[in-house]
Amino acid sequence: MINHHHLILRVVTKLLVGAIILFAFYVQFHGDFSPGGGFQAGVLMAAAFIIYGLVFGLDKTQEVLPPWVVHKLSALGVLIYSGTGVWSMMLGYPFLDYGAFDPGHPSHGQHTGILAVEAGVGLTVAAVMVTIYYGFGARYPHISDEDW
């Protein structure tokens, strides 16, 4: 029934989803300069998929982004974050010392490190939020739409 109604909603959603994802990327990579960062970007990214799911249904969303991919991505994010630390350890520096990535110019190394860990945070948060939404969405709703 969802697919036959709400024409305006569907058109607007299609337009919005792209914009939200774009904004999420902006927040992700502009976090150094303005409010925002991996966590906020992740939430926004997840919001894009959740809106898509709310309007077009869970199955359509899972075709775009299958659950097993999301699960692996959420693990990958944590691995990226801690992997950054391990990498710095392998270069002989303390854990998460980004100075290791550019010993001649520590602040450049810091930029690299921050970019990497923020990417990890963003990936994990987005994937986990989508996972949680899938988890709730896949359950059989107890109340039908009309009840609201």
Binding site: G37, L54, V70, Y98, T124, Y133
Partner: protein, 190 residues
């Protein structure tokens, strides 16, 4: 002065929302009000210079949490049943806790005091050093990702744990399979 006024106005709205939440019987209204509560909180955070926190609170409290709570209502119940629980013990606990908190505030520095211990000890070092050490305009990002990057790693782990938890409780780890049949619930026939 105008700031104080803004703070107090926002605060009164927050308290009104919170009390309304405690009294409502329709869960839909409760969830919506909790979204409103988060938005008001975000405004208050902006007034207190915490723009990053405000952004996060708005995205999380008013966004994700509200969606999840709505989903939960759809799967559970829409109204609260009136309770006959005795309220004396909870009230005593709350009053004792509140009294301890008020006691603790008595020796606190004034709000906004630039000479408070929290402003003179570690804060100046973060602000002065981060320019040359990290060279990132947003000091919050610098601390979050570098100085206290390990905390943030723990935070990522917390989020990951929540994801695993919801998976374990509600769906299970997805493999590359299944053309999603409508998964029936183990619904008890009510």
């Amino acid at each position: 002065m105008i700031e104080t006024l803004v703070n107090i106005t926002l605060f009164l709205m927050l308290v009104a929302t919170a009390i309304a939440i405690s009294q409502m019987h329709r869960l839909f209204a409760v969830v919506m009000l909790s979204g409103v509560f988060s938005l008001l909180t975000a405004l208050l955070f902006v007034a207190l210079d915490a723009v990053d926190v405000a952004f996060t609170e708005a995205a999380v409290g008013a966004g994700i949490s509200t969606v999840l709570m709505l989903g939960t209502i759809a799967l559970t119940a829409r109204t609260v049943k009136p309770s006959t629980r005795p309220q004396t013990i909870p009230l005593i606990v709350v009053f004792v806790t509140g009294a301890a908190l008020i006691y603790g505030t008595m020796d606190m520095p004034n709000f906004g005091d630039p000479l408070a211990p929290a402003q003179v000890h570690v804060r100046p070092e973060y602000i002065e050093r981060s320019v040359e050490q990290i060279d990132v305009p947003n000091i919050v990002t610098a601390i979050l990702a570098s100085y206290r990057g390990f905390d943030t790693m723990g935070e990522t782990a917390v989020v990951f744990t929540a994801g695993i938890g919801v998976l374990a409780l509600l769906s299970g780890l997805g493999r590359r399979r299944r053309k999603a049949p409508p998964r029936g619930p183990q619904e008890p026939k009510a």
